[in-house]
């Protein structure tokens, strides 16, 4: 398995009640798969948060992998052991 740490920020932290969690993933899991898994896993608690409503995750959240911003075009990136994934609600403004 591949062990990955997920960091939740802002509204995502509030609605999941988690600052971070460690997930054991099947080898070959991509970032896109991971976001879908999180949306499924937290569906109830994320009811009012960005990861729901059936929209593409990258229109709803800002994703970092090991401190680097990851765009939707990099969604097929395969996660590696020890990767840290940061998730922010999408927002801008200053």
């Amino acid at each position: 398995v591949t062990s990955v740490v997920i960091h939740y920020h802002g509204l995502l932290r509030r609605v999941t009640g988690l600052a971070q969690e460690t997930l054991e993933l099947a080898p070959g899991t991509t970032l896109r798969h991971l976001l879908q898994m999180l949306a499924d896993e937290h569906e109830d608690r994320l009811r009012e948060a960005p990861l729901t409503e059936g929209k593409s995750a990258w229109t709803q959240v800002v994703v970092f992998r090991n401190e680097a911003l990851v765009g939707a075009e990099e969604g097929d990136t395969i996660l590696a052991e020890g990767d840290e994934v940061g998730l922010f609600p999408r927002v801008s403004g200053g």
Binding site: G10, T59, Q60, L69, S92
Partner: protein, 641 residues
């Protein structure tokens, strides 16, 4: 009703020297070419304030302007503009505020107010619908902004009066003094509070009872309802409503775009002490909205206990969390909030205040300033007792504060010793909380802004954190992925130019950039054209509106060119080119603005040698008459300082 809906149809001429207040009819040609707000102010400045005018002299103008959508049911229609030559930069200056003041000016039946001259003693302008008078303000001089507002409301027994006031900083001509617009909002940038101070104008107080006339009231209200719905359904709405601009602090920190230690770094290790979560947990009291705004990004905060217990304030913004937090290595939220409130009360721009202090702290760190220079004040990073003393000294122009009250450009010239390298400004305006090393478009925007370093003219939000849907919707699939990537340079000059033109229109019609047009990126050219046509009855299209935005922005550039600004002034501090960012997503990045600037000039139709609009472009925009004036003085003969 005036020829066009959306307008009151008249403006106020206030000659402070003679104490004369006169109503004047609104020139329809002016609104047909420049809409209102920012556009009208730009035109008036161009016509009446030349390079020979000292910004703090009676000959400078102060324009207080609304737009045709201000005070209507359209969401976010609470914005208004102050325009004058800036005492900080010596070039075009403006500052925008939301809240309820702008709509109240419209309700009183006025589109804009034009102040000229200097009152022989302190006064404030009182507007009660058609009854307008200058009132003695000698008893208000020296008071803080909140004390002034309170005194005026009490004097007239009307707590619905809306005020725009200056504090001691404006009275003392601090070059980055702001204007407090009720206790809720600030028109902080460009030092326009000092322009009010130089005119002995302590405040403007207004109360009105009329409605804004609309050409097609039914159609407009239906559109307004649709716009409200679209905002609430926008994917960014939940986060902006929950936290306002502080909600981006942690994200910008992760991007390496949260200036720390006077731009030495782009991330703050103790961000979790001052970010939106910390702010909400510590001090949130309630949500606040501006006029007709469902986003309600404003909040009221109060420090509940401790040394700063009782500190209570609105509008704690991302910029201030940075300027008075990470920028000076302060992770103590309570003292940050107290400093914010102090700046609001004294009438200081928190961005420039934070930057002049971080400039001084860096000089102290490098041994370029000593206790002999600072009057014994130790300027260690994060030392908030010193910071608070310095804020008061700046506002009162006492001791070392008198030098910092000049802004970093003038202060660094006075200090010398190589200190210019640490003065983080463009054209004399201190740089706000963005960094071209982490977001290319913002770095370019700082350089091309018509009022000096500023993010709000172009306000490129689409690539801030990646807005692929908005990029696709506004510009097309072919621009992805680069257009939405903060570190990509491709297409960014286009994004900046389009944002500047759109922003010029937004600031001219009286709606909000944070609310719907940039942060939520919901409304675009055609939406604004539809709203304007229904409100005013003017035939309007995206293309006509784009030309208006371009005309306004080009005239601002021409105004600056008239004041000697050339391509040589379109530069960033060398730190961005020479010192790789050590932070976050920007780690290892430097930023060279030159290639983007050349592409931007080409898109604008500006001469790549001078940086001035070409004759062909000016004729295309109906600004051919500008050319003659730009012939004299030549750029080499004039210095904005």
């Amino acid at each position: 009703m005036y020829r066009y809906g959306g307008y009151a149809g008249k403006w106020l001429s206030v000659d402070l020297t003679r104490g004369l207040v006169e109503p004047r009819p609104l020139d329809p040609h002016l609104v047909e070419d420049y809409l209102g707000g920012n556009g009208i102010g730009t035109r008036l400045l161009w016509e009446r304030v030349g390079p020979e005018v000292d910004p703090l002299s009676p000959d400078n103008l102060l324009v207080v302007a609304t737009g045709p959508l201000c005070g209507t049911p359209l969401p976010t229609s609470g914005r208004m503009e102050f325009i004058a030559k800036s005492p900080l930069t010596g070039i075009y200056g403006d500052s925008n505020a939301g809240g309820y003041f702008g709509p109240e000016v419209k309700f009183a039946g006025w589109d804009y107010i034009l102040f000229t001259g200097r009152a022989p003693q302190p006064v404030y302008l009182l507007i009660q619908d058609d009854r307008v008078s200058l009132q003695d303000a000698r008893n208000l001089w020296g008071k803080t902004t909140s004390q002034t507002e309170e005194a005026i409301l009490a004097a007239w027994g009307d707590d619905k009066i809306k005020t725009a006031t200056i504090g001691p900083a404006g009275e003392n001509l601090v070059r980055f003094a702001g204007i407090q617009v009720t206790s809720q909002r600030s028109a902080a940038r460009c030092g326009l509070g000092a322009v009010m101070g130089s005119k002995n104008l302590k405040a403007i107080a207004v109360r009105g009872h009329a409605r804004v006339p609309l050409a097609d009231a039914g159609g407009f209200r239906q559109l307004a309802r649709e716009f409200h719905r679209r905002l609430r359904e926008n994917p960014v709405y939940p986060a902006v409503h929950a936290h306002g601009t502080p909600g981006i602090a942690a994200l910008m920190n992760a991007l390496g775009r949260f200036p720390t230690k006077n731009f030495q770094m782009g991330s703050f290790d103790e961000i979790d002490q001052i970010d939106a979560d910390a702010l909400t947990a510590r001090a949130f009291v309630r949500h606040m909205g501006c006029y007709a705004c469902p986003v309600a990004c404003d909040k009221f905060y109060r420090v509940p206990e401790g040394a700063y217990a009782g500190t209570g304030l609105h509008s704690v913004e991302y910029e201030t969390l940075n300027a008075l937090g990470a920028n000076i290595l302060n992770s103590d939220l309570d003292s940050l909030l107290f400093a914010n409130q102090l700046c609001d009360d004294l009438g200081l721009d928190t961005i420039s205040t934070g930057r002049v202090i971080s400039f001084a702290m860096e000089l102290w760190e490098r041994g370029l300033l000593t206790a002999d220079d600072t009057g014994g004040l130790a300027l260690e990073w994060g030392e908030m007792e010193s910071v608070l003393q310095l804020v008061r000294a700046i506002a009162s122009r006492q001791g070392f504060g008198d030098l910092l009250a000049e802004g970093v450009r003038r202060a660094s010239k006075a200090i010398g010793r190589g200190s210019e390298a640490y003065a983080m400004h463009v054209k004399g305006m201190e740089i706000p909380a963005q960094d071209g090393r982490a977001q290319r478009s913002m770095g370019l925007a700082h350089v091309t802004s018509s009022r000096g370093a500023d993010h709000l003219k172009a306000f490129p939000t689409i690539d801030e954190t990646g807005y692929p849907d908005e990029a696709r919707r506004r510009y097309g699939e072919e621009y992805l992925p680069e257009l939405a990537q903060p570190l990509a340079t491709k297409y960014k000059p286009m994004l900046v130019k389009d944002g500047e033109d759109l922003g010029a229109v937004v600031d001219s019609v009286g709606i909000c950039k944070s609310g719907g047009t940039f942060v939520l990126a919901e409304f675009y050219w055609q939406d604004l054209a539809t709203a304007l046509e229904l409100a005013t009855g003017m035939e309007m299209s995206s293309e006509r509106l784009k030309q208006m935005g371009e005309r306004i922005y080009n005239l601002q550039r021409c105004y600056n060119a008239w004041h000697g600004i050339t391509r040589a002034d379109d530069v960033l501090p060398r730190r961005f080119l020479e010192e790789p960012s050590p932070s976050g997503n920007a780690r290892g990045q430097v930023f060279d603005v030159e290639p983007l600037l050349l592409e931007y000039y080409a898109l604008r139709g500006w001469d790549p040698t001078t940086g001035w609009p070409t004759p062909g472009k000016l004729h295309e925009l109906g600004l051919g008459e500008v050319l003659e004036r730009l012939g004299v003085p030549s750029p080499a003969e004039s210095d904005p300082l």
